[in-house]
Amino acid sequence: MKQNQKRAWLFLAPTIIFVTGFSIFPILRAFVMSFQGGPLIALDWTGFSNYQYIFKDPEFWTAIKNTIIYALVSVPVALAISIMLAWLIFSKVKRKSFFETTFFMPYVTSTIAIGIVFRYIFNGDYGLLNFVLKALHLPAPNWIDDPSMSLTTIIIFGVWTSLAFNIVILMGALRNIDPNYYTIADMYGASGTEKFWRITMPQLIPTIAFLLTMNIIAAFKVYTSVYALFNGQAGVGNSATTAVFYIYNKFQIVGTPGVAMAATVVLFLIILFITFLQRKMMKKIGEQ
């Protein structure tokens, strides 16, 4: 028995070393660094001053505010659209695999590449989006260069990019629902809406909970799409700055790793709290 245990550790060692080295250590290091000041090669202890700094920094609050708005708007909207589209493809479309592939394409394409394409679509003067909006006699705002629009632009882009993954996962979940459930409902004359709300939605709850968690976490870490859409900036005059953008900026550009790590710890706690809250909520819904 004892000998077996020793040998087990041997087999576990590679994983343990990797997980410790590349997951646990960086987290702890970030936590430690958030209490240190100075450049990376000469860190010294500064106590809570990094935290004091970020809490007083209006830019930090803008970043957090933007991130929260982005997450709380883009995630539910994207999920609602995904459910709608997945249900439509599932129940109405004959050649499902074609549409599934089409919808999944953005997921395997680089966000940077898509972002560059969207830069052109969103362009205020000659973009495709405004061309359509003008043709329909709708207001055509300057999506990219108007600071008041930048957050909206990112949200639209964020919704679009998260559809792919959501739809594929939801299609999988829809396929797993016993078709007899619908046959029975049909026999009793249930309408399409009734079937959707009484059977499909309750059956999708676990999948929706999973997607919500994944999407929220991803949304709080939004960076690449901002970078791609605004050509490496956080929007005009940093109007679309996000938490990760702030962290990156403080770390690489300004050269204050301690401040960046303090912001990282705060972001970590926010994500933890929201995920926890959301799990509780989904559990309640699931029970009903």
Partner: protein, 361 residues
């Protein structure tokens, strides 16, 4: 009105898109309030017929009448049927009460919640599942889930109840209990019930009558006991009965039925049991194991190879003409494996079939 022919199926035929003819010209009728079993081996077309009755499949040709009215063009929801699926298909996210209420809370049969609950409670009481009202289906045993499925099928007060292999998900002991329950329940409600199964024992014990299918054709539409004692053809004789019937190859010539080591004079056979004239040629003689018994005067000489005990009786197994055959005897019969004995057939209980399976005697 149409009590004798409450459910009527006329010249029903179904050819699937891939060209497979699952049902070939099937006609039968069911009396009001009867419990009828559709019996047959897997792939015989019984489920296809069922799905056409339920409206889940459209017949290629033929007609289906419920209470004298054709329902072929009627949507499933307007056919006034209750359907119990093989796997019950209870909604896992709803409680038992919600499951049973479901048919009364959707579509055009929607009723006020209080009224729906009242009806649901009535049928839950009938099926004895009141105490599980607030539980989810996965907390119930197979038999309890079955009753929930039946209660749900009954709440819309349908005229016809369709049950597709409702016992196949239950273990053997429970199956015996539930099939009695189902029978007493549908009799109490008085609903006309069609029941699909591949298990002959189940069909014999539960059905008022049995419709035996094979190859998309009705082999026999009869009372259970007739299926056993007066089979229409070779298939029925071999499908029904446990232990299975003994079959011997025989030849008829010069007024004698000759097997590999026995002879029967045609004149010894009961004349009124002949269905057709027994011409000279090759035939199959079949006899149920309880009708071929050890006797000094017996003309079939065999060596017992093995003895199987089945409770009150014993099966003597012997090899005859290269085929294993059986004789069903009392527990007390003093015969051991290896004994050479004579067997005697009850000539008024044997069957003679043509090689094509048609019954002659």
């Amino acid at each position: 009105m149409n009590d004798e022919n409450f459910v009527q199926v006329k010249n029903l035929r179904k050819v699937y898109e891939n060209g497979h003819e699952a049902i070939k010209d099937v006609s039968f009728s069911v009396k009001k309030g009867d419990l009828v079993c559709l019996l047959g081996p897997s792939g015989c077309g019984k489920t296809t017929i069922f799905n056409m009755l339920a409206g889940l499949l459209t017949p290629t040709s033929g007609d289906i009448l419920f209470d004298g009215k054709s329902v072929v063009k009627t949507a499933p929801k307007d056919r006034q049927i209750g359907y119990v699926f093989q796997n019950y298909a209870l909604y896992p996210h709803m409680t038992v009460l919600q499951n049973v209420m479901f048919p009364l809370t959707v579509g055009k049969n929607k009723r006020p919640k209080a009224e729906a609950e009242k009806v649901a409670r009535k049928y839950m009481n009938l099926t004895q599942i009141d105490e599980f009202a607030d539980q989810k289906p996965d907390q119930l045993s197979g038999g309890q889930q079955q009753r929930v499925a039946i209660a749900r099928a009954l709440v819309q007060e349908p005229k016809i109840l369709l049950m597709d292999e409702p016992l196949s998900n239950l273990d053997a002991r429970l199956r015996l209990k539930i099939r009695e329950e189902i029978r007493s329940l549908v009799k109490k409600v008085g609903i006309t019930t069609l029941f699909v199964t591949h298990d002959q024992e189940e069909a014999l014990s539960i059905g008022d009558k049995i419709i035996l299918f094979n190859d998309g054709v009705i082999q026999q539409d009869d009372l259970g006991q007739n299926l056993y004692s007066e089979p229409n053809n070779y298939f029925v004789a071999n499908f029904v009965g446990n232990p299975v019937i003994d079959n011997f190859s025989v030849e008829v010539k010069d007024g004698k039925v000759t097997g590999s080591d026995f002879e029967i004079a045609v004149s010894d056979l009961k004349q009124d049991r002949f269905k057709h004239e027994l011409k000279d040629g090759k035939y199959v003689l079949s006899v149920r194991p309880e009708n071929i018994l050890p006797a000094e005067s017996g003309n079939v000489k065999v060596t017992i190879q093995d003895i199987e005990l089945i409770g009150r009786e014993r099966i003597l197994k012997f090899n005859h003409d290269g085929i294993q055959a059986r004789s069903l005897v009392d527990l007390e019969t003093p015969i051991k494996a290896g004994d050479n004995i004579n067997l005697k057939m009850r000539l008024d209980r044997i069957f003679i079939f043509t090689p094509e399976g048609e019954r002659v005697y």
